[in-house]
């Protein structure tokens, strides 16, 4: 088989993994080719608007598992291919020298056994690091069920490791991925968390969940994420809207992937990590799914209107973060600037506050932006919904931050 065809098959099989970040690594390189940029660098953007930072491929799409949602499940009659370690190294180096990519994202179907597959990954990455002296970013998948010794070796060759939790609950996993066992994924996460340092998985670990293939609510998903962040200190949990690639009676039939839901989950994920929100602030058993019309923070604010409007010239950093339209950066800028001069609405705009959202929830120097008689839930909600759904502004995209 020609190299080009192999690349097409094994990139096609890998493309459903959401993660492509190349950030967070401080690893130093002295000789050889390449280094890492702590901010991460996007090298291109694909037709779906996702960033291309890494050469995202599978080592092979042969697989002994039968996960219902996966293109590479063993019963699918698709073309199968396998890269040799040299081929992967050559392509990586050739792409890297031309600045097409920031590094390699190597995953694989399970061949023979988890240990055997892991050994193939290690052999490839060892060749890339030791013989080709590649110093760029490497993200590898850890194979659940492989031995600790192999996990140790793989982690010392890469910047980031990930093991996908795939589905938010045990039941979901049993139903759609009968060969997978979430305890093995947790074991990997625990091991990486315990051993992580500047030489071992310096950019930390991440995971991914498929959204909409099973019936879990947003509440169950967010509780899972929150648990993973707290327990294993993950850098990121990625959410991947389910895209039907297989036909199976166990799978839902969707017209379109649930992209808006995915978007809401990412927004809520950021609220957990950077805005001091807890899952119970955002969702509860009576209200287990996000409002598709309004983003989670605005939705929270509308349900807590008694705490608003907040005065930007005196509110604490913590309180500023709760205001829709104010982010981490603009909240910090407000704190610095209000010490040295008197803020007005125009200044807020220059600091990156999204006034078209924030204006309903703030006063500035005692003044409300609109007629204060308009401070009513119905009015604000209606306007926020309109704002988001004006057609030209309509974007379903994965949220990104350069510095995670």
């Amino acid at each position: 088989m020609e190299l080009k065809e192999k690349l097409q098959i094994l990139a096609d099989s890998a493309k459903y993994d959401a993660s492509c970040s190349s950030s967070g690594s401080h690893r130093k390189t002295t000789h050889g080719i390449g280094n890492v940029a702590v901010s991460g660098i996007c090298h291109s953007f694909s037709s779906d608007g996702r960033c291309i930072s890494l050469l995202k491929i599978l080592l092979t799409n042969c697989c002994i598992f039968d996960c219902k949602y996966c293109l590479n499940r063993k019963n699918n009659t698709i073309k199968r291919a396998i890269f040799t370690p040299e081929e992967i190294c050559e392509v990586t180096i050739n792409f890297y020298r031309r600045n097409y990519i920031e590094g390699l994202f190597l995953s694989s179907g399970i061949v023979k056994s988890p240990d055997y597959t892991m050994e193939l990954l290690i052999e490839t990455l060892r060749l890339l690091r030791k013989k080709y002296h590649f110093g760029g970013y490497i993200h590898a998948k850890a194979i659940p069920g492989a031995s600790e010794k192999l996990l140790k070796e793989l982690g010392s060759l890469v910047d980031r490791l990930s093991a996908n939790i795939e589905l938010p609950t045990e039941n979901g996993l049993k139903l759609l991925a009968p060969n997978k066992d979430s305890s093995k994924v947790h074991k990997i996460m625990q091991y990486v968390k315990t051993n992580q340092n500047n030489q071992y998985v310096p950019a930390g670990q991440s995971t991914q969940m498929i959204i909409g293939a099973t019936k879990e609510s947003d509440l169950e998903i967010m509780e899972k994420s929150s648990h993973l962040y707290d327990t294993y200190h993950l850098k990121r949990v990625f959410y991947s809207a389910y895209i039907p690639v297989n036909k199976d009676s166990l799978l839902p039939s969707l017209e379109k992937p649930p992209l808006k839901r995915e978007n809401r989950l990412y927004q809520a994920d950021f609220l957990l990590r950077f805005y001091h929100f807890k899952v119970k602030d955002l969702l509860n058993p009576d209200n287990p799914n996000f409002n598709i019309l309004v983003d989670p923070k605005a939705d929270w604010a509308l349900r807590h209107l008694d705490e608003f409007p907040k005065e930007v010239t005196t509110s604490s950093y913590h309180d500023l973060l709760k205001i829709p339209g104010i982010g981490v950066k603009s909240a910090k800028r407000i704190i610095y600037s209000r010490r040295v001069f008197k803020l007005c609405f125009d200044d807020l705009k220059k600091m990156g506050v999204v006034l078209k959202r924030a204006k309903y929830f703030i006063t500035c120097g005692g003044k409300y932006f609109l007629d204060s008689s308009l401070f009513k839930k119905e009015f604000i909600e209606k306007n926020l919904v309109l704002e988001e759904f004006i057609p030209e502004k309509k974007e379903f995209e994965q949220l990104r931050l350069f510095n995670e």
């Binding site: 390449g34 779906d48 020298r97 600045n99 097409y100």
Partner: protein
């Protein structure tokens, strides 16, 4: 001498010296321009002979801090029409607000300095990803860029660290300037001293380019197609020099 159009010698140092002189003598300039400026009928052009002191750089750092000084330099590299006047007013206010100057976003010179320097930083970051090298037959890597701001000297150090074992050249097509790296240092030279017209691509190049294009086409998910989102992150102005976009132009 008030309201004159003051000319500086095109370098950052020369600009700082001029502004320092103007501030010291309480002169309020109408315009500050570099030597390529062609004056209009009403300009009262003033060429001053100012003794250039290298110390000026440290003086500025002492006054407003190294962070703000860096922002100042980024503004100098920008393509903004009135950048010199913005810097004049920034340093004028810097005398009062010292190293707190950048917190004073209500001042127009401050908000403009921040806006423009962020724009320059943003463009540098974009180019770290979007530069596309091709390998020539003598194994030199060659790339062309067309940045809005004069960011070549900010991009070069990144590739010096990254591709330290390769000879490479990055050409700023807009300014006809080149950055050359000889496996030790990088140099910035004017394009007139250099021609690559007769150099061919290496014999491996075509194959690698085809692999990349195939990868790019494959990695996009049809069901998620989102033209607008792609355009936001990768505006069309970059496409001309990006191999994978060739077929979509």
């Amino acid at each position: 001498m008030n309201n004159g159009c003051f000319i500086y010698e095109d370098t950052f140092l020369s600009l700082l010296n001029l502004i320092h002189y103007l501030l010291k003598n309480a002169i309020k300039p109408d315009k500050i321009k570099n030597t390529s400026y062609s004056p209009n009928l009403f300009d009262e052009v003033v060429h001053l002979t100012i003794l250039e002191e290298k110390e000026i750089f440290n003086k500025v750092i002492q006054l407003i801090g190294s962070y703000a000084t860096r922002a100042l330099y980024y503004v100098f590299l920008s393509n903004e029409e009135n950048k010199e006047l913005i810097l004049y007013y920034l340093l004028l206010n810097g005398q009062k607000y010292k190293d707190k100057i950048l917190f004073h976003r209500h001042l127009r010179c401050v908000s403009e300095t921040i806006r423009i320097s962020n724009y320059v930083i943003h463009e540098v970051h974009k180019y770290k990803g979007f530069v596309r090298f091709q390998e020539l037959e003598n194994h030199i890597l060659y790339a062309e860029v067309e940045p809005v701001n004069d960011v070549l000297e900010l991009i070069a150090p990144h590739f010096k660290k990254r591709l330290k074992n390769d000879y490479w050249i990055i050409k700023d097509v807009r300014r006809n300037r080149l950055s050359l790296y000889d496996k030790k240092n990088y140099y910035l030279v004017s394009g007139h001293e250099f021609s690559l017209e007769t150099t061919l691509k290496s014999h491996e190049e075509q194959k690698v380019e085809e692999l990349w294009k195939a990868f790019y086409k494959t990695i996009g998910i049809q069901e998620r197609k989102n033209e607008r989102c792609r355009m936001n992150f990768m505006p069309k102005k970059y496409w001309k020099y990006m191999l994978e976009m060739e077929d979509e132009l």
